[in-house]
Amino acid sequence: MRRAGGLALLVSTAVVTAAQTPTFSTGVEAVRVDVLVTDGDRPVPGLGPADFEVRDNGVRQNVSFVSAEKLPLNVILALDTSASVLGEPLDHLRGASLALLERLELEDQAALVTFCHEVRLREPLTRDLARVRRALAQIEPLGETAVIDGSYAAVVLGDTDLGRDLVIVFSDGVDTASWLREERVLDAARRSDVVVYGVSVRGADRPEFLRELSELTGGGLLEVDSTRDLRAAFVGILDEFRHRYLLNYSAVGVSPDGWHQLAVKVKRRGTTVRARTGYVAGH
């Protein structure tokens, strides 16, 4: 998987230009995979490269780099502010977001995207978290739900900067207003590096889009019974994300284009691995 920008690691004859335009000169791909390893419900710490086995389209790869905690985070909150969150749910949502911001480190950045029928970038990625807090205070619920458009915007915005990208999409309903089509947005997510966590409130409709989006990016879907549980959900996601591993490898022995199926294993009994299911290379 390639990265636009400074993290694009190119082997062999790769050239990283000073400008932010990526240049790819060979078919050898630098791939980065964000992985969560758990034992039961708890993340497993202290793993090294030798503990992982990564297969790219079935071909075993040599994992060259494992890093987890040191890279700063880019957290993009994409929040449903349609009419249905009016009242208490909005207070809970705002409270959960503030609690998450409280737990960010100095180097971390946050952005706020909201969506009703209209997607709005309330605050672009910034280290000045007070700006994000102020933007949160000004949210006014209104209109219908464009969760697909909102998720797309968050994925694209998150796919652009240094650091590890975490997108949290909250929605309490199903999409009623998006222009973009579900499959196109899932396709975009496959092509990006972001890890998406979906958070939804249990109801009549199953949040299939959020489930698929979060699973294919290696994140997860949390279904809460009530918006009261949002704070625990948001904070839990951040904690979990900090305990993840970032694997790098140079893809060898595989086609330079198309869909690459990924399989990540950990050589320890009883552990579960969550990672994106694959990536799109080439073009």
Binding site: A83, L142, Y152, A153, R191
Partner: protein, 1140 residues
């Protein structure tokens, strides 16, 4: 947004059919003489159904066996429909005003919770039972109080219509019944025996024999006799006190709900063998019953134990049966206690005309019966032959001279005493010099109709701990008597206000006199009078009672308002109440305006919650923010319709440096009601500091009423269209006559008095009206046709006897003759104007208009579902104006299918339904009647396309309706196929109708037929680029859709470059619209051009473009097809004008 649904097909017209006989008038005159006795009689048939239509002659009334003449008689039917819990309950909008408008309809309940006779373990059951009654069986206009028997005679919650307060009071209930007498006696015996067994005795002496414990006086008695008797007396005195409080209420049905396990005191134990206070308890019970009977209040006793015996903690094994028997205790003793307690409950109910809910678990049915008995009954009044004042109990009996009917009525009354009853409740210490008439009104917490009053109150931070409560009181114009005489000023108005705390103490009040000048009388008559006062009150809960009286006719009225005064001293962040003022309301004369209010608003606050479009409403609230350090606070003001549509929003960011000395932000917002359509709205003011997470907010509701109506009526809280309401018909033929007058007077396209009048009619009344109009219409065409026989076209069979009298027939013929005098077009004119009248009633009077109480059995087949964001918000039964309008038009001659007015009606109403998302499903019927009309076909196709949209499909999944009622939203694919068929027909009828082609393209795309979709859309784009259609395009709106949909179709076909061109063209047409930018971004991302993808997203989302007025036609694609609704309505109204 609303969707009308039903078990029957929506397009099926209401057909004239025979109806049940009209009910007698529901008015009665209530004499107030001391010697007049009133009896409520509840009559049921053998199956328990309420019997209607009895007359005075059907009743026999006896006092001590001697038949009495019935001097006053009325069948009272307070409609029960709003009492019943609907399967889907929606929270009512928050009201911050109280009026006495609907007072005459409501019931008055006292919920007496007998702490002293409820086992602690069953406290929860009692709370649940009482709460269920409050939640599901109390209706609008009803008031109730909660009284605890253990708390003296103080009400835990005084009379209020606020269910939340009642529920809170019930939550404080805990039972503390004494242990069973039988068990206590057993314990005493056991204790004595143990004492004896352990008595010191000489060494070696044998233990005492078992039978040494001989019966002796102390052990035969109930150890808690005194406490038990005192508890029984206390409970009965509570009941008596509540019943006495009801004495002054005439003409309204009142009931006591007595939740108790009954008095387990043996009142027949005159010898005092076990319990010594039998006579005292018996007499207190008799006194309670007598007082209830005298006040004509029925006691409904409700036993929370259900059908099982005294279980739980009370069942203990009898360790020594033989010994116990010696004391008169055996296995039946506990059963005897149960029987006693149940008997007491039965007696209380039966002798006061109530029902005992004893030995049953079916409380729901019992509650329904209680409400029915409180809603539908006969009121009989008589003057006793003897008018002695000796306090004697007089036995009365009510019978009906028809076999099989059961009468429930009180069994007696107590004659008044010569001396006033010394137990008479002392009146409230009302404000000094208040007249006795007003004092009497202020003593009662239930609103008294008469002089129309509205009141609202808002608490502000005051000095010290006390809050300043601003009370605004408004008298409606037409109710205020101002008839100036040349030699004297207009008449005097007396007004008194008191604030009563939870303990019933008066904590503040004032008496005011107003004498409007002769010059101002017209002004006062039009706008009413307003008083704005302030009271300094410590934190707590209060009931404000306001009573007013006008001098010449002595008319009076009163109203009660519940208010919570917060403790502003101990909160870091708090908000005051909200005051509203408006430009129109500023004109109301205000003889008394308090100084406290002066700095708050430019014009005095108003108690009115109805405003005209175009008026400017000012909302004022104070936010108290004591948080540190310096920070900002966002105060947002929003106005939304009940279905969540926002019509106003503004947010102001305050800096803590702007705080007043009092620590308050004085937040004032002007809300212009320009372009706000009639209906009910919610106003919310919310404050959020950037520090921490706390928010505070206040909400209230108000209504926007059409100008035509508002000008016609009082600006205060009085109902609009008073003049037409005054004509509210009392019989079926009167209603028909009123309807004919309304049809003539109604100005099409307005919500005028006639529209409000018919909107106030219930579904059953409209159903009857449909039959009656059909008769008149037939008579206009054929004056000789029969009136007395009706044929229901939906039922095969013989004609049925019509529910009309001979006099009705004569009036029918006269009305028809009068209508026919307008000439040959009279018949069609009546039908068409009638249809438009009901259309205006349905759409212009507004969704928020409170439907009045209807007949006892609400129609169950028509529902309207409110929804927002694809989720159901609520559902209520639809009144049936649409069906009636359709039924009227179906009778247009020679053929509705060839009638231009009918066509325009379908066009305008279909467009209305789709444009405002009030889906009434006219479309299918419209294309049945006009199968070749391209515009109707386009609307019908769009309708099905909209039903296939994610928002409607999501609604279909979330919708909850009573069984048997279907929502009629088909599966996505089948709705799309139906849409395709209709849109193709529209194009066959009019190939140049480019909007139909665009929609067809979109539908084909959604059906997965991308190639066909692209073809249609390309054709549409080409047509729009050519001369004729280009002119028809509204500012490039259709072109935008065509390009966007074409882009999507091309993308699906893998033609990304041409897709990009389409999206770019759409973006050029609407540069602010985000959807084309998102589409372009997504194309770029797929093409791996991340920079372009990001750039397009940033342009789509750029904050400066996110103004509230930002427009993307995609957001309104589902309603845009109805955008010509106004033009079509204009055409419809013009076509009516050319009718003869």
């Amino acid at each position: 947004m609303a969707l009308f649904v039903g078990a029957v097909q929506a397009q099926e017209p209401v057909r004239p059919a025979s109806s049940p006989p009209a009910r007698p008038p529901q008015t009665a005159v209530f004499p107030s003489e001391v010697d007049y006795v009133e009896v409520d009689a509840f009559v049921t048939d053998p199956r328990g159904n309420v019997v209607h239509g009895l007359t005075r002659d059907d009743f026999l009334l006896f006092e001590e066996g001697i038949r009495q003449e019935i001097a006053a008689f009325a069948e009272v039917a307070v409609p029960a429909e709003r009492v019943r819990a609907t399967p889907i309950e929606a929270a009512p909008p928050p009201r911050d005003t109280a009026t006495n408008e609907e007072a005459v309809q409501g019931r008055i309940y006292a919920i007496v919770l007998d702490e002293l006779h409820t086992d602690a373990q069953r406290s929860g059951a009692v709370r649940t039972l009482a709460r269920e009654f409050i939640a599901k069986h109390m209706a609008e206009g009803d008031v109730a109080a909660v009284v605890f028997t253990g708390g003296g005679t103080h009400a835990a919650q005084t009379f209020t219509g606020d269910k939340r307060l009642l529920q809170e009071a019930v939550g404080r209930f805990t039972g503390r019944k004494l242990p069973s007498a039988t068990l206590e006696r057993l314990r005493a015996i056991e204790f004595q025996r143990n004492l004896l067994a352990n008595e010191p005795r000489p060494e070696g002496a044998p233990p005492p024999p078992e039978n040494r414990l001989a019966p002796r006086p102390g052990l035969e008695r109930d150890p808690h006799d005194a406490a038990r008797a005192s508890a029984a007396r206390a409970s009965m005195e509570s009941l008596e006190s509540v019943a006495r409080g009801f004495a002054g209420v005439q003409g309204r049905r009142k009931a006591i709900l007595f939740f108790s396990e009954g008095i387990d005191y043996d009142t027949l134990d005159v010898m005092g063998a076990v319990q010594r206070s039998a006579s005292v308890v018996r007499s207190s019970m008799r006194e309670a019953i007598a007082t209830a009977a005298r006040s004509s209040v029925a006691v409904y006793s409700i036993d929370p134990r259900g059908p099982v015996g005294p279980i739980g903690s009370e069942v203990l094994p009898m360790t020594s049966p033989a010994e116990a028997a010696a004391f008169g205790i055996d296995s039946r003793s506990l059963g005897q206690e149960l029987r006693l307690s149940r008997d007491s409950l039965r007696r209380l109910a039966e002798e006061t005309g109530g029902i005992a809910v004893v030995d049953t678990n079916d409380y729901a049915t019992a509650y329904e019966r209680i409400v029915r008995a409180s809603s539908q009954y006969y009121l009989l009044g008589f003057y006793p032959l003897e008018s002695k004042r000796d306090g004697a109990f007089r036995r009365i009996a009510v019978r009906v001279e028809r076999a099989g009917l059961t009468v429930l009525a009180r069994e007696g009354y107590v004659r008044p005493r010569a001396q006033p009853d010394e137990k008479e409740t002392p009146g409230l210490a009302a404000a000094a010099e208040t007249s006795p008439e007003l004092r009497a009104l202020l003593d009662n917490p239930w609103p008294q109709p008469g002089l129309a009053l509205g009141v609202t109150a808002a608490a502000f931070k005051g000095s010290g701990r006390d809050a300043s409560v601003v009370v605004t009181i408004q008298l409606s114009g037409p109710g205020v008597p101002v008839e100036p005489q040349p030699d004297r000023p207009a008449d005097e108005i007396e007004l008194s206000l008191v604030a009563i705390d939870r303990q019933g103490r008066v904590r503040g009040g004032e008496r005011l006199l107003a004498r409007p000048s002769a010059e101002s009388h017209e002004h006062v008559e039009r706008s009413g009078l307003r008083f704005v006062r302030s009271l300094q009150l410590p934190p707590g809960r209060y009931q404000l009672r306001v009573a007013a009286r006008e001098a010449p006719q002595g008319r009076r009225g009163s109203v009660a308002y519940d208010l919570e005064v917060p403790d502003y001293g101990d909160q870091e962040l708090a908000m005051s109440g909200v005051l509203l003022a408006s430009r129109t309301a500023a004109l109301t004369p205000t003889p008394a305006l308090d100084d406290v209010v002066m700095p708050m608003l430019r014009t005095p606050p108003t108690a009115a919650r109805r405003f005209e479009p175009g008026d400017v409403v000012t909302a004022y609230a104070e936010v108290y923010d004591a948080r540190e350090p310096a920070h900002e606070t966002a105060i947002a003001t929003r106005v939304t319709s009940l279905d969540g549509r926002e019509v106003f929003r503004t947010t102001r960011l305050w800096s803590s440096s702007e705080l007043e000395q009092s620590g308050a932000y004085r937040h004032e917002v002007d809300i212009a009601l320009t372009d706000v359509s009639p209906g009910q709205y919610l106003l919310q003011i919310a404050a959020r500091p950037t520090l921490g997470e706390a928010t505070v907010s206040r909400e209230l509701s108000f209504e926007v009423v059409p100008v035509a109506v508002a000008a016609d009526s009082a600006p205060a809280t009085a109902a609009p269209a008073r003049r037409w309401d005054a004509r509210r018909p009392t019989s079926r033929i009167d209603r028909l006559e009123a309807w004919l007058a309304a049809v003539e007077s109604h100005e099409p396209g307005t919500a005028d008095g006639p529209a409000y009048m018919v909107r106030s009619w219930t579904a059953d009344e409209l159903q009857e009206l449909a039959t009656d109009v059909a008769v008149v219409v037939r008579l206009i065409g054929d004056p000789q046709s029969s009136v007395m026989w009706l044929v229901d076209p939906t039922l095969r069979g013989r004609p049925q006897r019509a529910p009309y009298s001979v006099d009705d027939e004569r009036r029918f013929r006269a009305l028809a003759r009068e209508a026919a005098e307008r000439g040959p077009g009279a018949r069609n004119r009546l039908l068409k104007r009638g249809a438009v009248l009901h259309t205006d009633a349905a759409i212009r009077v507004g969704m928020g208009y409170a439907q009045p109480r209807g007949a006892a059995e609400p129609r169950s087949d028509r529902w309207q579902v409110r929804f927002s964001d694809g989720q159901q918000q609520g559902a209520e039964q639809a009144p049936g104006h649409w069906e009636l309008a359709r039924a009227l038009l179906d009778n247009v001659q020679p053929d509705p299918m060839r009638d231009e007015t009918v066509r325009l009606w379908y066009l305008a109403t279909s467009a209305f339904g789709q444009h405002y998302e009030q889906h009434t499903r006219q479309e299918d019927r419209a294309v049945e009647l006009f199968p070749g009309d391209a515009n109707l076909l386009l609307l019908a196709g769009s309708f099905h396309e909209t039903f296939a949209s994610p928002r409607m499909q999501s609604l279909a999944r979330s919708i909850r309706l009573p069984s048997g009622v279907s929502h009629g939203i088909g599966a996505e694919q089948s709705e799309l196929r139906e849409a395709e068929k209709l849109l193709r027909r529209a194009l066959e009828a009019q190939p140049a109708l480019v909007e139909a082609r665009i929609r067809l393209g979109r539908v084909l795309y959604r059906l997965g037929r991308h190639e066909a979709a692209a073809r249609e859309l390309q054709q549409a784009v080409a047509a729009l680029s050519s001369g004729g259609s280009k002119a028809a395009d509204d500012d490039g709106l259709l072109r935008y859709y065509a390009e966007m949909f074409l882009g999507a179709a091309r993308e699906s076909l893998g033609r990304n470059d041409s897709a990009r061109v389409s999206y770019a063209r759409a973006a050029a047409l609407y540069p602010d619209a985000p959807s084309p930018r998102l589409a372009l971004s997504q194309l770029a991302f797929r093409g791996n051009d991340r920079a372009a993808a990001l750039d397009a997203v940033q342009r789509a989302l750029r904050p400066e473009a996110s103004r509230p007025d930002r427009d993307d036609p995609w957001w309104r694609y589902h309603v845009v097809q109805g955008r010509r609704v106004d033009a079509w309505f204009d055409e419809l109204h013009r076509s009516l004008a050319v009718e003869p």
